[in-house]
Symmetry: C2
Subunit: 568 residues, 2 copies
């Protein structure tokens, strides 16, 4: 601790003067020893001074025997994918007990590079929460992507030493790691003394060892206990994910309970959790509650939400209730239901009803859709006599299948019998690149849906049953500079603008939600299968790292063929 | 991992080429999950590649079902106090399974400053073990000490960034911490991102909180479970000590077993363990074995000897068997007796019979006793009519009591009836300072014993029943430039030279031990109480941080009076 800080805190710590705030009559969850200690907690200047029944405070709060635990930590999440303003998501989750966020802004980075990362840092700087950032490692995701900006090791230098940057963000390009790509290792070298997050859902035994050997410290993609165990045995810290889309707590925690293995190398994360889900069931506290419901020891669960994660990211002042730790607390009624009564950040109670002030977005980040006007004929797709590969959209999944069909030879494929057109329009550099393909399973009739949220390069992705509506939808996205749109019979039905990098809104989330609800209903009415979220599922159809077929601005791409996967 | 290193290791990790070495048929102690995994361990270039039954090696070692655990770590020890050459002690302990040492060279620093620290670094550099150093924080121990060198924060700069320096060594001056001494905090600031070792045997509740708040991370002085628990609750990492003098494992581990609290913040250390004890019962493996004997879960015990400590000191590549970790192993027969079969350092088997090459000591470090010849009259101690304070030496302890006696007025006190003379002679700067006092309990008759090992300033300490023999003993220490000597009836009986800073030998330990045995026998024959080690107990009689009376070159000192404690 710095001399000046200690001098300010010493008197109250030693009990010579009163602390700013003392929590009396509390059950303290001690994450070091795994005990509940009945005592009082003294706080000054946002720092915990100590635990003792004899502390007195200028202000005293009687917790009436409630539990007080360290504020929870989300080990890995993206803010952009929730579409709402970063500060708003953080505030909503903080009110549920998550006081620390380890954020990977790789969507923003794919659109706007360093400016995108700085936007996330800036927007969350004065939040009532600790928001840390992992430097996006895979921008673009692969060499064949057309994204907005590239971030090489050199581009990361300005961020080195920033105390809010904790390391390198999820390394999705496992090939580059395992095959020893020097550009990837240049990034690893920059963060060798910090934490390197992984993303390794499918690696077999020795490849997983190589991935760890190279320097990867964590992974949040384990969806089965067996895989999580393989990771933990290698010293890969497993972030057990429970978000809006991925639900991994049940399988992994059941395994933890069944085997009784140590949980030191396990933490909790959400990855992506939408604001309405947070409001409904909570944030990291939901992972904790569910884990305990499944039989996990409550101390283990709380440690997975606090000290384990703090240690994983070298956050020496977070995750515990002890002298010198930051006074972030979650207060709850019992160690079973975990009903959150109050949350404190730096010793101040979080006001759940407070309005979040969303900072103004720099103008450049609101002008990121850079295309010339398109016309229906830009989406022509000639069919020859050979086999046509069709993107098979699978119910409730983002993986796709490689369907082969025989269509009649034509200058321009006409959607029919559930076969639709899907296209990716490069939108960052006005290169004019448009890739068109056939897809099946989505189900829209008499219109088109388009989005500028399209992982990971965030070009415009559009799907429809006729070229005219497809062109109208793309032009509408350009007009509003990013968002979602639904077009029906030659007319824009409704558009949700997401002007911040084409990914996020800068208005309050209620407005977004209202419009989104109407648009989703319309999409289903137009025939979109209920097995999909019309916009979220669509947003993954250009993602070149998840099997199997994807459409990109360069054309149809088979993921398993890697760099050579373009299909003529 | 560096690109070049990964490239060298990747092929074997992926199983494309053979590893250098594969341990087959082993029970791997997995410190991440707390399991025993039956598999094989592959190694190349001193690094663990991975664990898999299908690995093949250029060399394969069948362990026949034996256990393989990460090499043990001693969380805190001093090499100087064992008197043998550092490399020899390290080699002896390594052969017992301790492959990593976190060393505090504060004795060497008190005599020779940075040169003393560099000596320890240099002597252990090519050991078959990882030897790390903590920067001594209290040199001198207090402001009233006359030691050889002072190490202020400025003097520590040259060591910052050295990968073998892990942080700040045991902060004995708890007053300086708790009262916010800016010079102490300047040292803390230098190591704020590393580990700061504590030394806090006696701090009550709020003072212990303040000590932790200031930034202290560890302590190895806890001798009771209750105190250790108070420390762990504050996030102070407790090093459970079992050495030649201090035996804390029993009490602390009994408490751990009784309460079942988490042991994440507990490690093992020896602090000071003599080579003959190491040879008899082992080193850190003894702590492990004894803890398991007392009922501690063997995985917890092994973690306290491996990964817990590695994490405490930020040693990312040590303490586990997983890809990228250093190939340091201890192999034993079962998880109860822990009979060590073999030890590997960086994938190479440690040869227990190998001769240790002791590097030559720089000449300056062998000439550190700098005094003019003394004579009997230098030890005259006038007694007036008032009370005389006498250092009461307590059986089997290093604390002393403050006895008050009434002696007849005299120009020079004459030892009688068990009352002896004890003196401290400043030996670093030839200042001529000699402090003389009366002591009781030691028991020598007809001679004197002197030593240049005298914590922490390492002046010459001498005790005897007549001034002539006292002077002879001091002059003998100066003649050999440091060591132990026994003088009887005007003649030197025997001297053990410890020429390296007056603390250590540079010959092999057998020679030391042989001579020491003879000298101890003589001391007991001359009347020294069997309740004391004649030399070790004596070496603490000038230590101004342990209660109650001490003799220093500036005179008799009462520890509880702090800086103002000199007694006229």
């Amino acid at each position: 601790m710095k001399y000046e800080t200690y001098k300010k805190l010493a008197g109250a710590t030693l009990g010579k003067v009163k602390a700013d705030l003392v929590f009396k009559n509390c059950k303290i969850v001690d994450v070091f020893t795994g005990e509940v200690v009945e005592s009082c907690v003294a706080v000054k200047d946002g720092t915990i001074l100590g635990v003792s029944k004899s502390y007195e405070g200028k202000k005293e709060i009687d917790l009436g025997g409630a539990y007080i635990a360290p504020g929870f930590i989300d080990a890995h999440l993206h803010l952009e994918s929730t579409m709402v303003a970063p500060a708003e998501l953080v505030a909503t989750a903080a009110a549920c007990g998550t006081t620390t966020f380890v954020v990977d802004p790789h969507e923003a980075a794919n659109v706007s590079g360093a400016d995108g990362i700085n936007y996330i840092l800036d927007q969350t700087e004065n939040s009532d929460a600790n928001v840390f950032v992992m430097m996006p490692s895979c921008v673009p995701a692969t060499d064949i992507d057309d994204n907005g900006c590239m971030i090489a090791a050199n581009d990361m230098y300005p961020f080195i030493g920033n105390p809010r940057i904790l390391g390198l963000g999820e390394v999705m390009d496992d090939d580059a790691v395992i095959n020893g790509n020097p550009r990837m290792f240049a990034k690893f070298a920059l963060f060798e003394h910090q934490t390197i997050d992984g993303h390794a859902p499918f690696l077999p035994n020795k490849m997983l060892s190589a991935y760890k050997l190279a320097g990867v410290d964590t992974d949040h993609e384990a969806s089965s206990f067996e895989y999580a165990l393989e990771e933990a045995r290698r010293g890969i810290h497993v972030h057990v994910r429970e978000g809006s889309a991925a639900h991994n707590v049940d399988d992994i925690v059941r395994g933890l309970v069944r085997t009784g293995i140590d949980t030191d190398y396990f933490s909790f994360c959400t990855d992506d959790k939408h604001i309405e889900d947070i409001l409904r069931e909570g944030h990291i506290v939901y992972n904790v509650r569910r884990a305990v419901e499944l039989g996990l020891d409550p101390f283990k669960a709380i440690k997975m939400a606090t000290i384990n994660t703090a240690k994983c990211y070298g956050l020496k002042q977070l995750g515990a209730i002890a002298p010198g730790y930051q006074a972030d607390f979650v207060i709850f009624d019992n160690m079973k239901d975990f009903n959150v009564l109050d949350v404190y950040f730096k010793g101040k109670k979080i006001d759940k009803e407070a309005n979040v002030k969303v900072k103004k977005c720099p103008s450049a980040l609101k002008h990121t859709v850079n295309i010339s006007k398109v016309k229906a004929s830009d989406f022509a797709l000639p069919i020859d006599n050979s086999t046509t590969h069709v993107i098979g959209m699978e119910p409730k999944q983002i993986v796709t299948s490689d369907l082969t069909e025989h269509f009649s030879k034509t200058e321009n494929f006409v959607p029919h019998d559930g076969y639709l057109k899907i296209a990716a329009v490069e939108r960052h550099h006005n290169s004019g690149k448009i890739g068109v393909a056939v897809t099946k399973g989505y189900g829209i009739q008499g219109g088109a849906i388009a989005s500028s949220v399209s992982h990971d390069s965030h070009n415009i992705i559009v799907i429809g049953d006729n070229d005219e509506d497809i062109a109208i939808a793309v032009n509408e996205i350009a007009r509003v500079q990013g968002g979602y749109t639904v077009v029906q019979n030659g007319k824009v039905y409704e558009t949700l603008p997401l002007p911040v990098m084409g990914l996020m809104t800068d208005v309050h989330f209620e407005e977004v939600n209202e419009k989104l609800k109407v648009m989703k209903e319309k999409a289903y009415e137009m025939g979109v299968s209920k097995d999909f979220d019309p916009f979220i599922t669509l947003s993954f159809m250009a993602l070149t790292v998840i099997p199997e077929l994807r459409v990109t601005p360069r054309g149809l791409y088979r993921v398993s063929d890697k760099g050579s996967g373009f299909i003529k």
